[in-house]
């Protein structure tokens, strides 16, 4: 019994040790960014492990720029729209690809995947032309459109994978109940796919939130820019000076909403949604 308990304790300690190491690896850089953001610029080049001064001037600098707030707004608009579009198109496509057998399905899957095989720079100029043709240059619309190029493929693939795991009988029951594919998808499958949708949604949101190259190329004026661009364009004293303090402060500011989002979304990543559906 004591040996058991000892083993149990050892396991618990080991587990928490693992958690501690992982958490440290994950958040240390972010923590360091916070530490840096709270330092006055003169102390930037000194190593310090703890927050030894609480200098909020960097935050003031960042937040006092109206363009930064506009950038946050733009980012939210763009990222939310991208997530909505990706999930909508992704879900419908996943149903088609995951639950219907038809000729050309493999091809479609490969095409979707193939889109992810080009380096972003290679599509930049062509995409620029498309966006100008559609008159979406320098507007969130252009970004929303262009972001689908990297959010759609993985959304489609991931949702397809999860879609396949749902029991066939459920769909059959819905068919017998007279549900159209659309109803089956929205009323029956969607609620069950919450873990997958929350996950992909989160991934897509973050990907869109963080995208830089397209955002830089397809927007021009400060009022249309997104957060990463705004951060990259944060003013230092001169051409060569990198304003580390404000950049870190801005990074912290834009990362916090994401963390909150993760906390909210992860409640949707819960187990056992399909429990009780079928016997075996």
């Amino acid at each position: 019994m004591t040996l058991r308990r000892l083993k149990g304790i050892a396991l618990t300690i080991g587990f928490w040790l693992l958690v501690a190491v992982l958490v440290l690896y994950a958040i240390f850089p972010f923590y360091y960014a916070i530490v840096t953001s709270l330092k006055p610029s003169s102390q930037l080049f000194e190593v310090s492990y703890w927050v030894d001064s609480l200098d909020f001037s960097n935050y003031v600098t960042v937040l006092s720029q109206p363009t930064f707030l506009a950038a946050i707004r733009n980012s939210v608009i763009v990222a939310l729209s991208v997530v909505l579009i990706a999930l909508l198109l992704g879900l419908t496509a996943a149903w088609a690809l995951g639950r219907v057998r038809f000729r050309g399905r493999t091809t479609v899957m490969m095409i979707v995947l193939g889109v992810s095989m080009f380096p972003q720079v290679a599509v930049l100029s062509g995409l620029f032309e498309v966006i100008r043709t559609l008159d979406l240059y320098n507007s969130p619309g252009g970004l929303i459109l262009s972001y689908t190029i990297f959010t759609l493929p993985f959304t489609v693939w991931i949702l397809t994978t999860f879609m396949r795991q749902l029991p066939d009988e459920l769909e059959e029951a819905a068919i017998v109940d007279g549900a159209s594919p659309w109803v089956t998808l929205t009323k029956v499958f969607m609620p069950l796919l919450w873990p997958a949708m929350a996950t992909t949604g989160l991934l897509a949101f973050i990907a869109a939130w963080n995208e830089f190259l397209f955002a830089l190329t397809f927007t021009l004026t400060d009022s249309q820019r997104t957060v990463p661009v705004a951060i990259a364009l944060i003013s230092g004293g001169s051409q060569y000076e990198l304003p580390w303090g404000p950049i870190m402060a801005a990074s912290v500011i834009v990362t916090v909403p994401l963390v909150v989002l993760v906390v909210i979304f992860q409640r949707r990543i819960v187990s056992g949604l399909t429990a009780g559906a079928v016997k075996g």
Binding site: F15, Y32, V123, L152, F162, R164, E171, S251, V262
Partner: protein, 335 residues
Amino acid sequence: MATRQPTLAQTSAAQNPGGAVDATQPARPRRERGTRVRRRRVRAAWLFLTPMLIGLALVAGWPLARTFWFSVTDASLSSLEGANFIGFENYLVHDNGWYGILADPLWWQSVWNTLYFALVSVSLEAVLGVIVALVLNAHFRGRTLVRAAMLIPWAIPTVVSAKIWAWMLNDQFGIINHLLMTLGLIDAPLSWTADASLSMWAVIMVDVWKATPFVALLVLAALQMLPSDCYEAAKVDGIHPLRVFFRVTLPLITPALLVAVIFRALDALRVFDVIYVLTSNAASTMTMSIYARQQLVEFQDVGYGSAASTLLFMIIALVTVVYLYLGRRQLGGGS
């Protein structure tokens, strides 16, 4: 149920909407394909796919077609219009010695770098991602916070996180060197990003840090959808948790893991910003994307750069096909 659909092996064991199809016999009698019920479903499927396909055609079709075209011209950024068709000269041409990408040692170096980077970092990410997912799947106090913490690396914009790491890895005032020296692990600061023998590992470390949450999140979602009663059965049978993990959990999350890995691999093979910010374009960490970008943007040589992009595309496609093939084999062998 999960294994009957080796996700990546689209060609064979896919499931019938109506529920049942013999995995070993995908071919069905002709007559069946034509029934109206099926046709209706197939029509709905195409209808559902159309918006996505239009979207992709719009954002990807034209740009990709252009890239292909430019790769066989001598277009340059300043004179895109006046591009001349020059065949495959960008790829390889003999003109008092071999010229073209395929004759460029730097290109081959970048191919090697890319493959090495992708293999190492994606493997590490897969392993770490599964571990993190398992931890996050356990019930313990503070799970919400730990989950959020684990996702932070993914949440920080790459541009920024690469800079944070560059800052931390700085040889003079970087905290990593400081830490290692305080701990007595090294006695002189290492120049992580400049030293050719270290820079690749520095990049891998940052990439693993950054992308593990992606894998972990997907695996976590898969873990959450596993049938719980199987675990009860295993529990009653007293099977060692490790064995349960390798024999039950892993096979069941394989589809999701494979998808996560393939998207990570695609990203890793196109890796750009982390390396660009961290080590710039030193030859020891030059990847195919950086090479292509250098040609396209810095050297203004759209033709050459497009050719490099096209080659990059083909190499990725090759890797993907091999991967899908192996993934299917592995799944098929498991049953």
